[in-house]
Amino acid sequence: MKSAVIVYPGINRERDLARALELVTGTAPYMVWHDDAEIPDVDLIAVPGGFSYGDYLRCGAIAGQARITADLKKKAAKGVRVFGVCNGFQILTEIGLLPGALLRNAHLKFVCKEVKLEVVNSRTAFTNAYAQGQIIRCPVAHHDGNYFADEGTIRKLEDEHRVVFRYAQGTNPNGSINDIAGIINEKGNVLGMMPHPENLVEPLHGGLDGRGIFESLLETVA
């Protein structure tokens, strides 16, 4: 499986994501600079976490204006899989590939801890290695992970089973509506999530629960 990780100034989990991809898929991803015109032909485009442009205007807002965005949108429209984590999720909502927005955490503080996620929809290309309803461990690390969308959008997301991950067992760390932790687009090729599965993929991390996402992708590509 070929993949690419987009690097924006201020991003800081691009190496974590690249390592997880290489670990599971066996191939190191292309690292694509935000100011490039084109993303190489790959099976997966990953948009990593961090603080692109310091998150100074709004999380992901300035990164959304990068030169690479045009090609990212084009490839997403063609059906290339796009995976946004944390700041990457925020960027994907800013550029309209995913609905809604991520607001400041309800308790206003940055939060880094392990939460429980329920795999609400295991029939996506990103989650088929998990069982439906499976509860997995996953770390979060964010200041603005409080998912918001208007009522109609939320209803649509729920009706269409596009809420893919939900904070489970009372571990919602940020006040997200309906405990939403990750969502997918209508076509099923763009997934955004706040938690960091890339930080739970090897024994030294204390668990392997995050691998499922990368394994799912590998499965559906191969």
Binding site: L57, G100, L103, A106, N146, F148
Partner: protein
Amino acid sequence: MKARIIVTLKNGVLDPQGKAIEHALGQLGFGGIGDVRQGKYFEVTLSEQDPAKARAQLEDACKKLFANTVIENYAIELDV
């Protein structure tokens, strides 16, 4: 030409920061100050001299960058 842009959260969008400020106001004895909604304020200078064109430019910039219209409204004040 100078202009000011004010970005506010739309009604119905949760504003935890505004709520925290309101809470703190109460503790400081400002119980009469309520409904706090936090926003952002920008000052800009435009090289465009024509007010209509300047406004159009700013409208565009607000939609594309200054505000996220999923959650935010904006207002433009132009010094004419």
